[in-house]
């Protein structure tokens, strides 16, 4: 008898309890070309959700909808409904700058500002007016570096340029910078793909700690990383959501054949 796993026409979705982010019927177009098709996703609070799928499947595009980064691409249009804590983030009255403070982002290549380590962290809180005094700002910078597990390594060189740190340190600096604006959500787009295994382990350990207070989404090409760090996994293919559920289930007994073929290395 054949295996039960079949290719479904509808995505297999296990509902998430207490989602921070709910997306319904999301479509994304680049000009005439549709990149995302009718995606419904729930992202649970205080947990790590990984988005996986082959290159060009739309996972990064979808990620960038959550902090409206796609707004910066002129030909890109997004339709559908995305809410954070019930609030429509595509509401025209919503302040996008404020949204991006609530939804921090970490990119594939560490991209510290060409400023001092201190200024990298202090910049966001300062422009958003989150602190009232130099002392308060100093404390916040220290706290963020501490949370990012970087304080010990950089406390004597706070005024040196952030770009002088190692790749792994730079990435943790970017995470410290992302949490400095007190976001609810942190989006990570392949945060470890340029890092060595030790730096990767440090970032993963940091994510594990951060998930107590933040909702984290990570886009990754490493199946092992998705399996290691996340509690939920969403698999995208050709712009569609194929399967979204508990990481444990997805990596031991996925429901859709395409998910199984992808994570076991049998794709095309």
């Amino acid at each position: 008898m054949e295996h039960q796993v079949v290719e479904g026409s509808k995505p297999v979705t296990v509902p998430a309890l207490d989602p921070t982010i709910t997306a319904r019927g999301v479509n994304v177009f680049y000009g005439d070309k549709q990149a995302i098709f009718d995606v419904d996703v729930d992202v649970p609070r205080n947990a790590i959700t990984s988005f996986i799928g082959p290159s060009g499947c739309g996972k990064s595009t979808f990620l960038r909808c959550i902090n409206r980064m796609n707004d910066t691409i002129p030909i890109c249009t997004v339709t559908g409904d995305i809410r954070i804590d019930g609030e429509d983030i595509y509401d025209p009255r919503l302040d996008v700058v404020e949204l991006r403070a609530r939804v921090g982002m970490v990119f594939q290549k560490p991209n510290p500002f060409p400023k001092s380590i201190y200024e990298n962290i202090a910049y966001g809180p300062r422009i958003h007016g989150l602190t009232r005094s130099k002392k308060e700002l100093d404390e916040l910078v220290e706290k963020c570096l501490e949370k990012a597990g970087l304080l010990k390594e950089v406390k004597d060189r706070m005024n040196e340029p952030g770009t002088g740190l190692s790749g792994g340190q730079q990435q943790r600096l970017c995470i410290a910078r992302a949490i400095a604006t007190r976001p609810e959500v942190i989006l990570m787009d392949e945060p470890c793909s340029a890092l060595d295994p030790i730096a990767t382990a440090k970032v993963e350990e940091l994510m594990e700690e951060l998930k107590e207070n933040y909702t984290i989404i990570i886009v990754t090409h490493s199946m092992q990383q998705a399996a290691r760090v996340s509690q939920r996994t969403a698999f995208f293919h050709l712009g569609k959501l194929v399967e979204n559920g508990d990481t444990r289930q997805i990596f031991t007994n996925p429901s859709d054949k395409r998910t199984q073929d992808y994570i076991t290395g049998r794709f095309g």
Binding site: M1, H3, V5, M223, F251, Q260, D261, T264, G265
Partner: protein
């Protein structure tokens, strides 16, 4: 199922199946030979079975090492993960079945000089046939990835248990009839117990095959057949 993009991975997984099928074939063969030796009171064949078990042990270690290497190097996921974990479990059940065949061989060697009571031997031979048939079916279920067949094997184990229960009572009666039968009967009883244990390991394999194919454990309750542990001697007094 489409093949893995990395061909050597595909080959490693199929090599695992080849080894398991070889192991299964050896276990089947040894069990049949051991029982045959017991039935025909052939001490020489019994000795051969005892020696032949070594090959199964070697294969078990081989499969174990290969599974560890696959986990370390390939980090299998989903059905592949279930495949390698399943292979590891099946191989250890097959190794135990090999040991039980060896034990039957030892019993056969020990009682080769003594003539057997006919009715008892026919009961035992019925049990051996059942155990061999079950083992063959479960190995087919593994090779074909057939969860339904595995489920059938799992359910049918109670037939072996039922035969064992009646054989147990028969041998007990036989011993009580004449204390001179005790030595022989004890050997035969252990032989029967070994066959009953073969059935249990076969059932374990059936559970593993079902999990491997479906990704979930068998859910219904299997009737527990073996009840001699609760049997009271007074019943036979």
């Amino acid at each position: 199922m489409p093949e893995h993009t990395v061909k050597s991975y595909e080959e490693e997984l199929s090599l695992l199946d080849t080894k398991i099928s070889r192991m299964g074939g050896l276990a089947e063969h040894n069990l049949a030979q051991a029982f045959d030796a017991l039935q025909r009171r052939d001490a020489r064949q019994a000795e051969l079975v005892i020696v032949a078990d070594h090959a199964i042990d070697v294969l078990e270690r081989d499969v174990e090492e290969q599974v560890i290497e696959i986990i370390a190097r390939r980090q299998p996921m989903a059905n592949d993960l279930r495949h390698v974990i399943g292979a590891l479990r099946i191989t250890s059940d097959l190794e135990r079945i090999g040991d039980l065949a060896k034990n039957i061989g030892k019993r056969a060697a020990a009682i080769a000089e003594v003539s057997h009571p006919k009715p008892v031997i026919s009961g035992l031979s019925q049990m051996a046939e059942l155990a061999l048939k079950q083992l063959k079916m479960v190995l087919d279920a593994y090779a074909e990835r057939d969860a339904e067949l595995a489920l059938k094997v799992w359910r049918d184990d109670q037939k072996i248990d039922a035969t064992y229960n009646s054989l147990f009572r028969e041998l007990l009666t036989y011993m009580m009839e004449d204390p001179r039968n005790i030595g022989l009967s004890t050997h035969l009883l252990f032989g029967a117990k070994n066959l009953e244990r073969v059935g249990d390991h076969t059932t374990n394999i059936a559970e593993t095959v079902f999990y491997l194919v479906r990704g979930e454990a068998i859910s219904d309750d299997r009737p527990k057949g073996e009840d001699t542990t609760m049997a009271r001697l007074a019943e036979h007094g």
